[in-house]
């Protein structure tokens, strides 16, 4: 309703359309537009310095002053509104004289000697040239100063070129809503400062680089490690290629600047272009892509040395020269993850957290800090592509024929493109004949998908990020640390709050958004169902539910109403620890909306009751009717750049593309026809899921893994690692020799996102095209080529030559992608469903009906069930796991990024101040965390964000792998493990001797003997 009123007001506002003349051209502009906007619409270039699109107008540079009829003074074009009959002269003599004076004054404190003769290096110098301002200085004013960021590995300042336009200040506070930069002092002493003491860390800097983007002089600029990013060409990219950031699910578009075959810099699209990110990036997108040129990149296929080709056939021969018997069938000279977690960690010489660790030589190449250890390569020899693919084909065929198709499985990848995921599942379904295809969605949003499928037959977000930012009145965020895991979206949420939207955050940790929120529901981990049922209980008690919506659009409301009956706010308080008054307040705020959006992520899904939790949330959404309207988005926030697309393209065991069940013979027939195989080659049995494959007693004997690293990401890693060691055959296709790849028989070097063409689906169902910028290193091949080659070797017809061709086939078998072609994906891409070649995509879904048989959604009653493992006397702490801002997933990419790894070089555990004090733990101290499954040593980070008796361990580190500790208890529907809750104990590591003793006793055996 409000939205309608707003639109109406905007419309009536626009009815008076002033007509004005700018430089002799007559134009009509809506009232409230500025002269600058009107001039830009006419392509009249009024010079600006402090003005930047979408930033608040401050009008301080005074360069855009123009002459306006009847006004004796010049007026600022950026801030002065148009009026009827106005006559504007943008280049009048007075205006030009003023511009020359402004530029001249700025040049007085600018290093004019560095301006190239007759040339210019930046926006400011371009204006100096445009207005022919002499670059000789006349005053003896000192050069400008400001806070420098000496030694900063990502952002550098050269404040002598600052012109105090304050774009950076506004970008920081109004786009990213961080507020690190400001102007300090007055008059000639004014300068840009970083926080109060010049330390960006203290000021809460997130290194997003928004300041770099907006700076008109390069006073704030980015730095890329020279050795990695091609020293001699850093400033001179030869071309720019549009791509999509390979990290989280926001799907930010980025521009890769290249020179030769080097990626020399990452910039972002112009702010006025329509991109999901409005041209913003976070630290990972802008500074975290140097992994692409890391020397660890695999450049040739690797084959385990024990394999030899005898009589035209590959055979395993441990006696083969170069292979050590110590390695066994599938090992090498390395520590298992469990042992690494237990390695004695010297207390870091510096405090790993504060002060900020700056690099000694920012222009050097400190990449050696984290790299593949040399001896990991020992069990492998370099091979030709032909050898490698031949061996894989032989072993896949062998296992298929001898042990049946279901003895094979593949992990596809949420980091790979739609086309690659489609090809891999096509290869395994058509070539091997199994549905054992899964990827890491199993470990993230599988429970959301199962709950959403059950309730409304959908598996993606109903709305768009844009509508959350601009239209929602209430934003309810559950279990999503958006500002760290999806920073660009997090900033949009903060902007929404500034606009006036109310924020409700449910999270056990007081994360940044929780601290900002209007209501923070700080619940005990794993008690989400009780909280959500409590919210719904109060909404029903107050009669705030949307009865019309319930009646016309849903089934099963009565059952749910009965099920939530016992969950009064007081009862919910007893379970969740959230004060009943807060529950009531949040319930009323959410239900009254009127436009409430619902966002959630891993905090809800990674539980053994994940499906129930999401179902109880969907009950709340449906009972309040907060879906199917612009401004009321239901949005599971996707964690990886293509986790949505990989699922859409059928890389999950139960369904083909577009969630068409494998059990339906009619659908099977359709796919068999397209793929050119007999119907019975395609299995009607749903395949195994990740957590069923990697499990003692699973029938899988051979695996093909594309771009995943389950040895770090699976729960209870020590068992997972043992399971992989026992496989008969393992092939891995990846960029690096990962923790998983080191156990492989064959390792295939793939191409990074920058080295191939592909499409990716972001969290709002937006299919976007990333273009190829550079060639893969050495003999590495685009993954699509590898898969096509393998498909043909497995005897399956593959009539494609490139990704665009694959997309045509995907569109032909995927009803909701019907009109999608690479040609149509320029610009902002397309939000599916796309019904045909002319349909423009669907920004939000379920306006009027749900895609169920009768068009109605179903509410499913759920009851609260506690987490599988709760703290007790022996293991008194809740352990939570998740992501940090500077790292991503298993760290394969981010830990090889100089800037990112220098910000967060050490695995740390967040522990509450009180607990730490009680145990005598100081910030940075090594502590030992032990669960029933394993134990790690890690540095303590005293944090006000975690509640007492709760700890948070990031998942990214091999040397302190959180998943050694996590509980493999599974959700019965989605088979997602309970990453978010397990019971641990925490102890300071006081003397290193004590620990060495323990290590002598031999890892887990000794520990568990003591524990159980």
């Amino acid at each position: 309703m409000l939205c309608i009123i707003r639109k109406h007001l905007a419309f009536s506002h626009r009815r008076t359309m002033p007509t004005l003349t700018i430089d002799g051209r007559t134009t009509t502009a809506s009232a409230g537009t500025t002269i600058l906007e009107a001039a830009r619409a006419l392509n009249i270039d009024v010079p600006t310095l402090c003005w930047y699109p979408k930033l608040p107008i401050v009008g301080n540079c005074r360069i855009c002053l123009v002459s306006v009829s009847d006004n004796p003074k010049l007026v600022p074009a950026c801030a002065f509104h148009v009026a009827d009959g106005m006559v504007v002269a943008t280049e009048s003599a007075a205006a030009v004289k003023n511009r020359q004076s402004v530029l001249g004054m700025l040049l007085e404190r600018y290093p004019t000697e560095e301006i190239p003769e007759n040339g210019s290096r930046n926006e400011f110098e371009q204006l100096v040239r445009r207005y022919s301002v002499p670059t000789t200085r006349r005053s003896s004013l000192p050069p400008r100063t400001g806070d420098e960021r000496e030694g900063d590995p990502m952002i550098q300042h050269d404040m002598s070129t600052c012109i105090l336009c304050t774009r950076c200040v506004r970008a920081c506070s109004d786009i990213q809503v961080v507020g690190v930069l400001d102007v300090a002092h007055r008059g000639e002493h004014a300068e840009i400062v970083v926080g109060a003491d010049g330390n960006p860390e203290h000021a809460g800097c997130t290194w997003c680089g928004e300041c770099v983007r907006v700076c008109p002089t390069g006073a704030i600029h980015d730095i890329v490690p020279l050795a990695k990013m091609a020293a001699n060409v850093m400033d001179k990219p030869s071309s720019k290629v549009r791509s999509v950031c390979p990290y989280c699910g926001v799907g930010c578009q980025i521009d890769l600047e290249i020179r030769g075959n080097d990626l020399v810099r990452v910039t972002s699209p112009w702010i006025e272009e329509t991109t999901p990110n409005d041209g913003s990036t976070c630290v990972k997108g802008r500074f975290g892509l140097d992994f692409v040129q890391h020397r660890d990149r695999l450049a040739k296929p690797l084959i385990r040395r024990g394999w030899a080709k005898r009589d035209n056939r590959w055979v395993w021969d441990p006696q083969e020269s170069g292979y050590s018997a110590e390695w066994g069938r599938r090992g090498g000279p390395w520590k298992q993850i469990e042992r690494e977690g237990n390695t004695k960690k010297r207390r870091p010489m510096f405090n790993p957290l504060r002060p900020l660790q700056m690099l000694d030589a920012p222009l050097g190449d400190p990449r050696d800090r984290v790299a593949t250890p040399n001896d990991w390569y020992a069990p492998f020899r370099e091979a030709t592509w032909d050898e490698a693919l031949e061996l894989i084909t032989q072993q896949l065929t062998h296992l298929r024929d001898n042990q049946g198709p279901d003895s094979l499985a593949c992990f596809s990848s949420a980091k790979c493109s739609n086309e690659e995921n489609y090809l891999l599942q096509r290869l395994f379904r058509a070539g091997v004949g199994t549905n054992n295809i899964d990827h890491c969605t199993r470990l993230c949003h599988s429970s959301s998908v199962s709950a959403m499928q059950r309730s409304m037959n959908t598996s993606a977000a109903s709305g768009s990020m844009r509508e959350v930012e601009h239209e929602s009145d209430v934003i309810f965020i559950l279990g999503a640390n958006t500002t760290e895991s999806h920073p660009v979206f997090g900033a949009a949420i903060k902007r929404a709050q500034r606009r006036g939207a109310k924020l409700i955050v449910a999270d056990p940790r007081r994360i940044e958004l929780a601290a900002l929120a209007n209501i923070h529901l700080q619940l005990v981990p794993g008690t989400d169902v009780a909280l959500l049922n409590g919210l719904l209980n109060h909404i029903l008690a107050e009669g705030l539910e949307d009865n019309a919506f319930i009646a016309s659009r849903t089934h099963g409301f009565q059952d749910v109403a009965a099920a939530v009956k016992p969950y009064t706010p007081d009862m919910a308080e007893g379970i969740t620890g959230v004060p009943a008054a807060l529950i009531r307040k949040a319930a009323e705020l959410y239900a009254r909306g009127p436009h409430s959006s619902t966002l959630w992520a891993m905090g809800l899904t990674q539980h053994r009751t994940g499906t129930d939790i999401v179902a109880s949330l969907l009950n709340l959404v449906l009972a309040c009717g907060k879906i199917g309207r612009w401004g009321s988005a239901m949005m599971p926030i996707r964690g990886q750049n293509n986790v949505q697309g990989a699922s859409d393209c059928g890389a999950i065991p139960m369904v083909y593309t577009d969630y068409q069940p494998v059990t339906d013979p009619g659908i099977r027939h359709m796919f068999a026809e397209v793929w050119g195989v007999p119907d019975d080659r395609l299995s009607l049995e749903p395949g195994l899921k990740v957590t069923q494959i990697v499990k003692e007693g699973s029938p899988v004997r051979g695996m093909y893994i594309m771009g995943e690293n389950p040895i770090i990401s699976d729960p209870d890693v020590s068992h997972a690692e043992d399971w992989f060691r026992e496989l008969e055959f393992l092939a891995v296709q990846d960029l690096f020799l990962t923790e998983t790849a080191r156990y492989a028989d064959v390792v295939l070097p793939g191409a990074s996102f920058a080295e191939k063409v592909g499409t990716y689906v972001n969290t709002e169902r937006r299919i976007q095209l990333a273009l190829k910028a550079i060639e893969p290193p050495g003999e590495a091949r685009a993954d699509i080529d590898i898969l096509l080659d393998l498909t043909r070797r497995m005897g399956v017809h593959a009539p494609f030559t490139d990704a665009a061709g694959v997309m045509l086939e995907i569109a032909s078998v995927t009803p909701s992608w019907r009109g999608v072609t690479h040609e149509r994906l320029g610009g902002a891409g397309l939000q599916y469903p796309v019904h045909d070649e002319t349909h423009g995509g669907t920004p939000f879904l379920f306006d009027g009906r749900f895609p169920t048989s009768d068009g109605k959604a179903t509410l499913v009653p759920v009851d609260y069930l506690p987490a599988a493992e709760l703290p007790d006397k022996d293991y008194p702490f809740f352990m939570n796991t998740g992501r940090q801002l500077y790292h991503w997933h298993t760290g394969t990419m981010t830990r090889r990024s100089t800037g990112l790894d220098s910000r967060e070089p050490t695995p740390t555990v967040e522990i509450s101040m009180t607990d730490a004090r009680e145990m005598g733990i100081a910030d940075g101290d090594p502590v030992r965390i032990t669960s029933r499954r394993g134990s790690i040593e890690i540095a303590a980070r005293l944090s006000p964000r975690v509640a007492r008796r709760q700890i948070f361990v990031p998942m990214h580190y091999r040397e302190a792998c959180a998943n050694l500790l996590t509980n493999p208890a599974l959700d019965p529907y989605a088979h997602i493990p309970e990453f978010k809750v397990c019971a641990v104990r925490v102890a300071p590591v006081r003397a290193h001797d004590a620990y060495e003793e323990r290590e002598e006793l031999g890892g887990r055996v000794a520990l568990s003997a003591g524990d159980d």
């Binding site: 540079c61 402004v102 004013l141």
Partner: protein
């Protein structure tokens, strides 16, 4: 801060009548002197009627710009559904100006009463008095008076038992001249850096916290109660020259003059009589060289110009300057004009908020040049540069600080060019003894 001088026979003590009377500081004392009758009266009137009285009286803003107060108040549209605010600008920091200080020191209740009436008249329930941070004694006096007023129920949710709400808060400044600029003052109250805002929108549309706001000077508001009690006609009669300039005005006088201090005269009073008769003329053996009549921001007058001036808004303009804040700074022939103008420029350079290029860079640059000339290192070219910079600094910036810096320079070079040239050709200050040079 001492006691004020005895009232001169030709002064018209409306605001300054109780200066020096410490009994007037208390609520009771103030009531005995007729205080709070106006507020009582006002709260019984329609707000529009109060505004009309002020329009009728001809009262103009005493902070410097001289905008008609009644007209300003009438910009606040009643019933627009938004909270309205009144700000009282007590950030008196214009060099040479110290009249508001005395009002707050001696008659804080006059200010509070004026604020309360103003708030009610513009439909505001909240008023902020923004007091300059260095004003410790005025701060104490107004603070005490405010406490008394609240305790006595004069202010608050039920002001004087009428059921109307008037709340007044004191906001202490932190020593920035620019926060006396109305929009910078609002930023400062909001907790932001004290940068002036772009206008439009004007405060009456979007001021404090983005809401309609009126901002008045201390002297303006302090005059309101008496106007209300005595009527517009009474006030209008205070006029010796131009009928557009009515009422009395406090002038702060300082510098090389026999009797500095605050003097309240009816607008239109002859400046010559003011300087020579009321303030005692120059010090023995000296004669006036230059007069800055309205605080450091206005053009400098020569004694001849000053003596021909009638002291009202139009009178000062007619003689090449402005009434400004009424801070009269007098220089005699012992002073070096280059040094004085340099000092003014340095003040503005120091106080520039640093937003606008012309102001940030220009004020610093002209200061450098002026100091160089004063030290004997200037060139004739410098004078052209000064005039060129001053022109570029005038009328191009968000607020008028930059213009204020330029005004004394332009008028100084125009009227005292020979002194600048003497510095340049003699390569030293002619007024300074040889040994120092």
């Amino acid at each position: 801060m001492g006691f004020p001088h005895a009232i001169h026979a030709r002064e018209e003590a409306v605001l300054s009548r109780h200066f020096g009377d410490s009994n007037a500081l208390s609520l009771d004392g103030w009531k005995q002197r007729g205080g709070y009758k106006a507020l009582e009266m006002a709260l019984g009137m329609e707000p529009a009627a109060i505004v009309n009285v002020l329009k009728e009286s001809g009262l103009r803003g005493r902070g410097g710009a001289g905008f008609p107060t009644g007209l300003k108040w009438s910009f606040m549209k009643p019933g627009d559904g938004k909270p309205h605010y009144l700000c009282c600008n007590a950030d008196e920091s214009e060099p040479g100006t110290f009249k508001d200080r005395e009002i707050m020191r001696w008659t804080p209740h006059a200010l509070i009463e004026g604020c309360a009436i103003g708030s009610y008249a513009i439909g505001a329930e909240t008023c902020f008095i923004y007091i300059r941070g260095e004003f410790s004694e005025p701060l104490r006096a107004v603070g005490n008076a405010l406490g008394e007023a609240y305790d006595a129920g004069v202010l608050g949710a039920n002001a004087m038992g009428t059921g109307k709400t008037v709340n007044i808060y004191i906001h202490k400044g932190a020593g920035a001249y620019i926060c006396g600029e109305e929009t910078a003052l609002m930023n400062s109250i909001e907790g932001r850096r004290g940068n002036p805002r772009i206008k439009p929108p004007f405060p009456a549309v979007a001021g404090l916290f983005g809401q309609p706001t009126t901002i008045n000077n201390v002297e303006t508001l302090a005059a309101v109660p008496q106007i209300l009690v005595n009527g517009a006609e009474w006030y209008k009669k205070f006029c010796l020259s131009n009928p557009k300039s009515t009422g009395t005005k406090l002038f702060s006088v300082c510098g090389n003059i026999a009797k500095p201090g605050n003097y309240e005269v009816v607008l239109g009073f002859p400046f010559k009589d003011f300087l020579y008769e009321m303030c005692g003329g120059p010090l023995p053996g000296r004669k006036f060289k230059a007069i800055v009549p309205g605080g450091a921001s206005v053009p400098i007058q020569t004694p001849e110009e000053a003596e021909a001036t009638l002291m009202d808004y139009e009178g000062f303009v007619a003689q090449g300057s402005m009434l400004g804040s009424g801070g009269v700074i007098v220089f005699d022939d012992s002073q070096c004009m280059v040094k004085l103008i340099g000092r003014f420029a340095r003040f503005f350079a120091h106080e520039s908020c640093a937003q606008c290029t012309q102001c940030r860079e220009g004020t610093a640059w002209v200061t450098k040049i002026l100091e160089r000339i004063e030290a004997g290192g200037g060139t004739m070219q410098d004078l052209d540069t000064l005039l060129e910079l001053s022109e570029n600094m005038t009328g191009k910036t968000i607020c008028v600080l930059s213009d204020s810096c330029a005004a004394p320079i332009v008028s100084g070079i125009k009227k005292f060019r020979h002194e600048f040239e003497a510095h340049i050709t003699g390569k030293r200050c002619p007024l300074r003894s040889r040994s120092v040079a």
